[in-house]
């Protein structure tokens, strides 16, 4: 299991990187953390002719607050940095909660926030969370910069809006509305395995302690993040009760998803897990919404 040969390019700025990407087009592959790409190369399933290493571009690594009370994260910011960052914990606690679930410590030392999103693995926590939080992605090309909403970004299995001569440079996460609670629940066989099913949920309460809005995003149930629309609609403007959550979870598991079967879990078992995790996620999110001071 040794990787095939490739030409190695080590730019020190985004612009320099874009020059090389434009020059080599599909023959080139940006190398972020490499924690998904390099195993594929070791298996010789990926054989890029050129690797453009993004690990020496300081401007891609940052965590910044924005005026609206949200924050923006540079694509090459490593998981462990995000995991232990206080600003993230304060402004995007859902992200902090997800971090320990992403692979292992050793992978999080190297893996990057943007790399995980651009790889668009349907089982990736950050893919689902960026949708749950209405994240916006900034793509840079030589032609210029464009912004895309997370919910429009993921085209399918491992496929995103990013063109070969473009780079995902920044992820903006807006603040959660007031009185919003969050939760991430997932089931995996071993701590570092891909989740059999995962759920990211946000619950926002109105003044009358009713659910103003609920956002449920499921992962590992299709070829990308799946928003449980029907379950969300059912919760809209309703008083939060155990029974309501059960009903919503039931709908999420039966109507919002059409999960596939694989060697680890049948479609039926996944539906079951969707129901269980959705209910649990809603309950946790509700508690946090009630605790939230603002």
């Amino acid at each position: 299991m040794k990787p095939p040969p490739f030409e190695y390019i080590k730019p020190s700025s985004i612009d320099e990187a874009l020059v090389h990407l434009a020059e080599h087009g599909y023959d080139a592959k940006p190398l972020a953390g490499g924690q998904s790409l390099i195993p594929m190369m070791n298996f010789r399933l990926a054989q890029p002719a050129v690797l453009v290493d993004l690990n020496n571009i300081p401007e891609l690594s940052f965590i910044r607050r924005d005026e609206q009370g949200g924050l923006s994260i540079g694509a090459m910011t490593r998981h462990y940095m995000v995991e232990h960052d206080l600003l993230v914990a304060e402004r995007a606690p859902l992200v902090s909660e997800a971090m320990p679930h992403i692979a292992t410590t050793q992978i999080r030392s190297r893996g990057t926030f943007g790399g995980s999103i651009a790889h668009a693995d349907p089982s990736a926590e950050l893919v689902a969370i960026s949708v749950a939080l209405d994240g916006r992605f900034q793509l840079r090309g030589q032609a210029g910069t464009r912004e895309i909403d997370a919910r429009d970004f993921f085209l399918g299995m491992f496929t995103t809006q990013v063109e070969p001569e473009e780079l995902l440079v920044e992820i903006a996460l807006p603040p959660m509305p007031p009185r919003t609670g969050w939760a991430l629940k997932e089931i995996s066989r071993r701590p570092h395995d891909f989740a059999l099913v995962g759920v990211a949920a946000l619950v926002t309460l109105n003044g009358r302690d009713q659910i103003e809005a609920a956002r449920i995003v499921l992962f590992s149930v299709g070829d990308g993040p799946v928003i449980a629309e029907k379950a969300g609609d059912l919760l809209q403007d309703q008083p939060a009760t155990q029974d309501l959550f059960r009903a919503a979870a039931e709908i999420a598991g039966t109507e919002d998803v059409d999960p596939s079967s694989d060697i680890h879990a049948s479609s039926a078992y996944r539906r079951q897990l969707v129901k269980v995790l959705t209910r649990q996620a809603l309950e946790t999110a509700l508690d946090r919404a009630r605790e939230s001071v603002n």
């Binding site: 594929m40 298996f43 790889h119 349907p122 299995m157 491992f158 496929t159 809006q161 070829d223 694989d262």
Partner: protein, 207 residues
């Protein structure tokens, strides 16, 4: 691996059956296609450089059409081979007229995958094939509608070569959007869809 399903086309069976003709257009329509030749009346051979996300490879595919009963049904046998492994498959497709001049398609496929493809690509084989087939059929349906409307309006449907990213995202869309050509060709398209399904699968085991 079994692939099975139904699809409703928004057009009459004859048109669905007819919108596929000329292999040459398809060759230009499928990015990465390096060669596509007709070996015999019912046999086609093609080579394409396929890329899905970071995974890529040169795949050679062969499609044989048999037992065809125009415009009703046919069986296709697909063989694809590349460095990451091989795929062998048989698919049966049946078209039957449905209400308000629509067409019901039933398809059953049995796919044998071998090599690295099979041994490390299991995590989402099922969902990939499902979604890619659906995308392929949706796009074909769009092409069908385009064909129908253009037939009415007399306009010509232009074809714009897609980027491979768009291509990977919705394989058959690009094929269909002007592989309004030989029937056999669409089945080659379908074969390619299968090959791509297999390639995509490969990525999925990785994290």
């Amino acid at each position: 691996m079994k692939i099975e399903g139904e699809y409703l086309f928004d057009g009459p069976r004859e048109v669905v059956w007819e919108i596929v003709r000329d292999p040459d257009i398809l060759a230009t329509a499928l990015p990465g296609t390096q060669s596509l030749e007709k070996i015999s009346e019912n046999e086609y051979q093609g080579e394409m450089q396929v890329r899905i996300g970071p995974v890529g490879g040169l795949f050679s595919g062969r499609v044989v059409i048999s037992d065809e009963i125009p415009p009703e049904s046919l069986t296709m046998t697909v063989e694809g081979k590349g460095k990451p492994g091989f795929v062998k498959g048989t698919g049966f497709i049946k078209l039957s007229p449905a209400e308000n001049s629509k067409t019901q398609m039933q398809y059953q496929g049995d796919l044998e995958v071998g090599g690295r493809l099979a041994s490390v690509g299991q995590r989402m084989m099922d969902s990939v094939s499902k979604s890619l087939l659906k995308q392929g059929l949706d796009s074909l349906n769009q092409a069908l509608l385009a064909r129908v409307s253009s037939a009415e309006s007399g306009e010509v449907v232009d074809y714009e070569a897609p980027s491979e990213a768009q291509f990977a995202a919705s394989v058959a869309k690009d094929m269909a959007s002007d592989a309004l050509a030989s029937r056999k060709v669409w089945w080659i398209g379908a074969a390619v869809v299968l090959l791509i399904i297999i390639l995509v699968i490969v990525i999925l085991s990785q994290g």
